[in-house]
Symmetry: C2
Subunit: 458 residues, 2 copies
């Protein structure tokens, strides 16, 4: 017994020593990122010299070149690309919506709404369309009103629930109207759809994002409007005012084109065949700079590589930074990455994505077996000095979803996303709306987790 | 034993039931604040119709009237004021700083610096002053250079340490140069002082704030500059460039004048003599709208009263919302409040201040005995659904400091203050830089804590 006791004591002593070493090294990571970090400057360059970078656009190619060059400059041992075919959706011009109604004095009134066509939608034709509007607050109402939809433009006004503390829950709920709303309305003969943006912002910016047509129904034009316009329109229609909307969107698809995942590695010194992936997506919607979505994730991931290299850390395993192609409207990059991993029988021990914005870190969400989750949980005290207290079950990222489905344990970076949907897919998702310290705090916590996974395996 | 066991079981069952009731009521608070709250709208009105409200200014009187009116409108049983004399410092005009130096080509170069005179400082006289500049990075350097200071303008360039995760620690350290820097330089014959602002912001806004003259030395003019100007000036002086600064500040004191704490109460229904104070400070520096500092604390406190009233909650104890006068450059309101409490032998069981901005809540800091702190800690799980995990020892607020010194247990609201010093005392501390959800989340967590203190005592 005594021997066992001494042995346990020794073990716990070793564990304490290791924790202390880790705490010291993570402090070095923090100091370096916060005082000499490149995340913010890299984001500035990505946003201001590349800007919007939707799949297939000229911006995508500029972003890919920037990514390769930046990974090299930040010290990657190896930089390469993975080719994949990506969709090439084009907005095709300014989206227009002109509302016509009789005001309370019976006077014909016209009002322009600020809209953005939904991603992957098709345009309204050269002349646009003109049709009466019908207010539909949710899918239950749609079903009740199904005989009353034909020839109309459906206005979905489903609110972003402000009482959910987790804004992603509100997004997931209201997002249904963006994703499937057009086809569900087309099923009943609607000729167009406009939606309330998935946001609780106090401005009037419309928020785009991908829709998905059901091939069984006509692919009708569809667009999002900002919250002020949505409130105004909803109030008008609730009063029973007859309103018509002229809707002109211009979007179309060009043939699929070649895009690339951009990959940079720090080669493992002990187990080079064991791969740890950390990434974000390089593409972004066209109306802005994709600063939070997902410029932040891109520069977070690159910063992990930079800081480990700068501190002279020799990873045991191969740390692979991946700037994924085409998350927004196709996920082709993530699927290609997983397919290649399978084809080459690569051993992926962990993958992490940052795609929830460059805000103050709150924690990580893990999708893995319970044993691994408990292992991660043991590291949580190391994050307390950085005010990170949440290691939760569930989470990851769209781009690493295909890897997870192959059994790879994954995690998602969880920042404080209260402001995220103020900017998400809207024209104000620009560099100026990312805070330097908040961005850097994210990077250092991600780097700390990658360091622990590398050191102890997963 | 068996009886004791059953009794314990019953007690723990009762405790669980109470926790569940509390959790349900706190959820009601949250839903109400997030969907029907007035904090954001109240802040808009305070910022946009009152604006800056430094003690003694016309803004102060407007703010006081707004405070009384708003507390009534939000449902206070009783609204009254507490008179106190406040200092009346006046900026007196545009602060000017013109740098003159020979550039690398030997050409005389002039450059205007963007400055703000420090609060409570005295102006540089009608003609301003003109003197050579000396770069002083910290007080150690000042002591080494003490024979080299006479007749010069000292430029303190002490950095805001970016490696501190807690930004208030960096503020506290660098703040020493704002508070005592002018007199310490005057001691060695300096004729003026300019300082690097206490901030890590990426813009060039100067940040003002109170300085404190030591009456043993001349009261020399002093001002803060933004970080870009400070970096530029520091680089120039480090190169050994001889530079002169023309400094013109215009500040002066008028005689003390009458200000007021504004108080609104929900009267206790069981122990009306037991008082729970929740407050912020109504005054703000002159260059902006005092949105985070401390408009947020003001509307947080008012929202506590509003939501409890709106939900029909009958407090056991008297909940007293206090909009304190003159925190920024005198603390006269806080001192008056404590003096009156003593004079009237009031029984204050708890006081809470919100004065760290309207950002996402992280927790509360308590200054009280350990028994009370442990009692508060037991409530922490009730805050987890709102992502609040930090109940720490130490904390409070300047205005309730005098109460604490009388033995009253106090706490400070702790938001995520990574962005706080981007705005603090600078011209960008405006309504637009406060996020609606983050502000509301703060209000609901403060209301939850006040509810628990009221229900269970403290």
């Amino acid at each position: 017994m005594r021997r066992l006791f001494l042995w346990l004591l020794l073990l716990s002593g070793l564990a304490a020593k290791a924790q202390n070493e880790d705490s010291v090294f993570i402090r070095q990571i923090a100091d370096d990122v916060l005082s000499k970090g490149k995340a913010y400057d890299n984001l500035r360059i990505l946003c201001k010299t590349v800007g919007a970078r939707l799949s297939g656009s000229a911006g995508m190619y500029k972003a890919e070149a920037w990514g390769e060059q930046t990974l090299k400059a930040m010290g990657a041992d190896k930089v390469y690309t993975q080719e994949c075919m990506v969709p090439h959706w084009v907005r095709g011009g300014k989206d227009e919506a002109l509302l016509t109604y009789k005001n309370e004095q019976g006077k014909q009134t016209k009002m322009s709404l600020d809209i953005l066509a939904l991603g992957n939608s098709l345009g309204a034709g050269k002349k646009g369309i003109n049709a009466p509007l019908i207010l539909i607050n949710n899918y239950e109402e749609l079903e009740k009103q199904k005989d009353n939809i034909k020839g109309k433009i459906v206005f979905y006004n489903y609110p972003f629930n402000p009482t959910y503390i987790n804004t992603f829950k509100a997004y997931s709920e209201s997002g249904a109207y963006r994703r499937s709303g057009p086809s569900r309305a087309a099923k009943y003969g609607a000729v167009g759809v406009v939606i309330r943006s998935m946001s609780e912002s106090t401005d009037n910016n419309p928020h785009t994002g991908a829709t998905s047509y059901d091939s069984a129904y006509p692919k009708i034009p569809c667009a999002a409007m900002g919250l002020k316009d949505a409130d105004l329109l909803s109030a008008l229609l609730k009063k029973g005012v007859q309103a018509e909307l002229f809707l002109k969107t211009n979007a179309y698809f060009l043939p699929d084109t070649i895009g690339h995942n951009i990959v940079g590695e720090l080669t493992g010194t002990v187990f080079p065949d064991e791969i740890i992936t950390v990434g974000g997506h390089l593409d972004s919607w066209d109306p802005a700079e994709g600063a939070h979505d997902d410029g932040a994730g891109i520069v977070h991931s690159i910063e992990v590589l930079r800081v480990l290299k700068a501190l002279g850390y020799k990873p045991k395993r191969t740390i692979r930074v991946v700037l994924f192609a085409n998350e927004e409207n196709g996920l082709r990059g993530g699927m290609k990455y997983a397919a290649l991993a399978k084809e080459k029988s690569e051993k992926h021990i962990f993958a992490l994505e940052s795609d929830d914005g460059g805000f103050t870190p709150r924690g990580f969400g893990f999708t893995c077996d319970n044993e691994k989750f408990q292992k991660a949980k043991q590291w949580l005290p190391l994050f307390a000095p950085y005010h990170v207290f949440e290691f939760d079950e569930g989470g990851g990222g769209a781009d690493i979803g295909p890897l997870a489905r192959m059994g790879v344990p994954i995690a998602g970076f969880v920042p404080d996303a209260q402001r995220y949907f103020d900017y998400h897919h809207a024209r104000n998702d620009v560099f100026e709306n990312v805070n330097k310290r908040e961005l850097e705090l994210g990077a250092l916590n991600i780097a700390a987790l990658i360091y622990l996974v590398d050191k102890y395996g997963f």
